[in-house]
Symmetry: C2
Subunit: 206 residues, 2 copies
DNA sequence: GTTTGTGAAACGATTCACAGCT
DNA sequence: AGCTGTGAATCGTTTCACAAAC
């Protein structure tokens, strides 16, 4: 089962979203082509994606909606909740703390850190902004599963090293830098300016 | 030159970032391997990426830093500024308006729309939040180049259709839905919950 | 001697197409 | 008859390796 492409994992997340919708509508089974047309892909792709993890469907019938949803939640590691620390109490950070999608999907922001004395001690969505100096102490006491990094680029690698020192194995990085981490740590970088540039490229090259 | 992979375009953006850094340090030339190590890729990849657009380097020497940066800005369509409308004055929207990275890279948010009467009329970073009802009137008067969509999922497709009706050809979509658009419109969807799920998948499957 | 530019080879992901189950 | 599961074929991207330029 090892070595599934990231693109496959992303599609599984989408399928799960659609399955939950279908579940709400009381649908009992769904075919790969129904799932595909909802998700902008092909039925063969859907079947191939699922086949990496087993065979969940019935030939002639399709896939049982609730069972497949449950199986996908399990595969995606969504059968539990995750404790998430937010590092950086700036604009994007503030949007993320309040963003419903995270909590809905099982990701709870349980700590917020910043280095700005003007922010430390403030209440944010029921949480006190902590001094990033106290990162080790706090995480030592209340370990977390993931970190969301929203610091300026200059600070990102140093904070990352400290997070890794505290055993953090997954980082969602919004700082516009490429973090270097050991093999057993997974980083997903989201670079908003870069997304816009793929759009400007497309506009300029038509 | 047509048909360059999106992954290539994304790397070009990164190279540009590094080149501007090198430029600031007064470096005159840079080798593909220097660029590669800075960007987490290989020198062959760098050379291949650049070769889609011409040959900019000198064998035995490397690439001239300012010229290559300039050429990349041109390729990526960054020699001009873009007028961007923000649709949705919620949490993420508010973070984006204030986000420096956009303006720095040539993307100016020039209009903000929302449908919530509580938000319409408010001042946001020097801009008045406009009623999304007036989208056509406003964009007819002051056309835009791109839209950033930060509406709830349910509203996203309808707004998209109206944007396209006003000639918008590029959309950065933060709504957690898959938008359907004509071929000549380019959409980039950023789904934050989905990014977290690729992390939980990685944590669950080790 | 160094480093580019690029065909050719290797690798990886998607699509095809069909046998096999319900 | 309908739809899955999956090898085989196709397509696209990355890596290799080396001749050509400096």
């Amino acid at each position: 089962m090892r070595k599934v492409a990231e693109s496959t994992v992303r599609r599984l997340s989408l399928y799960l979203r659609f399955l939950e919708e279908f579940e709400g509508q009381g649908m009992g089974t769904v075919s790969s082509s129904a799932l595909a047309s909802r998700g902008g892909t092909t039925s063969a792709q859907v079947r191939k994606d699922l086949s990496f993890f087993g065979s969940f469907g019935k030939r002639g019938l399709g896939y049982p909606v609730p069972e497949l949803a449950e199986r996908l939640r399990q595969i995606l590691g969504l059968k539990r909740r995750y404790q998430v620390a937010l590092i950086g109490a700036g604009k994007i950070g503030s949007a993320l703390v309040q963003y419903r999608g995270f909590r809905q999907r099982g990701f709870d922001i349980v700590a917020i850190f910043d280095s700005d004395p003007g922010k430390i001690g403030r209440q944010w969505n029921g949480l006190t902004v902590l001094d990033v100096e106290a990162l080790e102490r706090e995480l030592g006491r209340n370990p977390i599963d993931m970190a969301v990094l929203v610091t300026p680029g200059e600070a990102a690698q140093a904070v990352t090293d400290r997070l890794i020192g505290q055993g953090v194995k997954a980082i969602l990085n919004f700082a516009p830098v490429q973090l270097s981490v050991p093999d057993d740590v997974v980083v997903k970088t989201v670079n908003l300016a870069l997304e816009l540039e793929t759009l400007s490229y497309a506009l300029a090259n038509r």
